[in-house]
Symmetry: C2
Subunit: 242 residues, 2 copies
DNA sequence: TCGTGCCAACTCGTCAGATGAGTTCAGGCT
DNA sequence: AGCCTGAACTCATCTGACGAGTTGGCACGA
């Protein structure tokens, strides 16, 4: 019984069981159909309570659910604000998964590899000149970095820049969501580097090669270079655990 | 200001702003450190309220947040139950994204391609004999299918089976999360097939090739076959929109 | 003794009313 | 004009209460 085969009866969509679920469904509808765009304020809790004929408390629960799912943002004294699609939900999922099972870190790395390799491929095809310039700047920052914090920051900007250059926002969001859980591992790995084999040069060369291939619009080459780079990263991460 | 550069002050982790955030943090802690495993029941709202010295209402909001994030499940009359890591949160994110921007569907398809190609590669390396048998059975079911519903169901089982055979649960969860939003598109595409070019044979052949490569432990070949298959899928999807 | 049905205790779902605290903006004072 | 202040909103939380679904044990009958 791994997957749910075929529930005979499930009027989920049509008939929310609880009143607060109905609130959630209602607000979702308003957001999804564009009645409220990103940045807009929702009606106040009191107003919604009147409109939907439930108590303010019930509205609060619904809004709270949406907030937990990253669809809206609430802050004291202000009305709830609809947020743009963002990576908080993904970040939350990935970090939860890893916190509950440390083994998930390697699996996550594997996924990142798959996605970023593809991103590099797409970037080679779709990157705009300004995006390429930006990548070059990040690379330069990595080269010039004297402390590992600056280095790592530039490194992450570089990778993030590639996902953006891929032109696929879903990829950007996914990689962004994975960044947090992976950062821990990355720092450890870097430490291993700086103490053991302080060969940051290799890392830089790998980045350079990726950028080169993207600039040359060589999709297959970019994918290959990225794959190689991430294989290195994974190896270092594994080593830092042994 | 795309990325948040460096907030000078952010005592987030250490000091939840609101009481209900504190409840969330507390319960998260209990779940993540293993005090409550999947399947366990949390204390009742009333009990938690006493323990944490807040009102039951505040506890409810916290629990509600966790429920929205898929960490626990609540049902009327029963205490909240901790859920195993599952794809609901991902499903929720992907379907939200697509509902808010239909263009995301193609982006999602692109991501699925990247991940499933990698999954096929891993599956060729890691699949166990029973898993391969299961894949063969799904393929047979597709061959025997007379109506498209059965066909699609077997198709999805086949793909799901490959992600499972990859041995990477994160991949399984991601693909599972994407399935729902993509199903709509897939059905449309199949319709196009059945009415226009009813060449289901090609589809079957592609699946057959993938399984063949996996059975032969040919990782690169499996990846290639999967890539080709998904390219076909994408083409059909695009066609069904034109 | 064993099975069955019913009731009491638990627990979640929702409501009403009330207080405190953060935000915003329009006026009024300097 | 610029700054200050206070009223109006709005979210955050609490207390107390009632209804409805779930569960386990106890009494009753076979």
């Amino acid at each position: 019984m791994a997957t749910t085969p075929a529930d005979p009866d499930r009027p989920e969509r049509t008939q929310p069981r609880t009143a607060s679920d109905a609130v959630v469904a209602h607000l979702e509808e308003l957001i999804f159909d564009g009645s409220y765009a990103a940045g807009d304020s929702l009606p106040s809790e009191a107003e919604l309570a009147i409109q939907l004929k439930v108590s303010r408390l019930t509205v609060r629960e619904g809004v709270r659910s949406l907030a937990a799912r990253g669809l809206v943002e609430v802050s004291h004294g202000r009305r709830p604000v609809v947020t743009a699609t963002n990576a908080t939900q993904l970040r939350d999922f990935f970090s939860s998964s890893v916190r509950r099972d440390a083994g998930g870190l390697l699996e996550l790395l594997e996924v990142r590899l798959a996605i970023e390799v593809h991103a590099a491929e797409l970037a080679a095809r779709n990157a705009t000149p300004p995006q390429i310039d930006s990548l070059a700047a990040d690379l330069q920052a990595m080269t010039d970095a004297t402390d590992e914090e600056t280095f790592t920051a530039a490194d992450m900007r570089f990778h993030h820049g590639i996902t953006e250059a891929s032109g696929n926002r879903m990829i950007s969001l996914l990689v962004e969501g994975m960044a947090d859980p992976l950062r821990v591992g990355r720092l450890k790995s870097l430490h291993g580097y700086l103490q053991g084999t302080p060969d940051l040069g290799d890392l830089l060369d790998e980045h350079r090669l990726i950028l080169e291939k993207i600039t040359a619009r060589d999709a297959a080459g970019a994918a290959r270079a990225m794959r190689k780079h991430l294989a290195t990263t994974r190896r270092d991460l594994l080593r830092s655990f042994g």
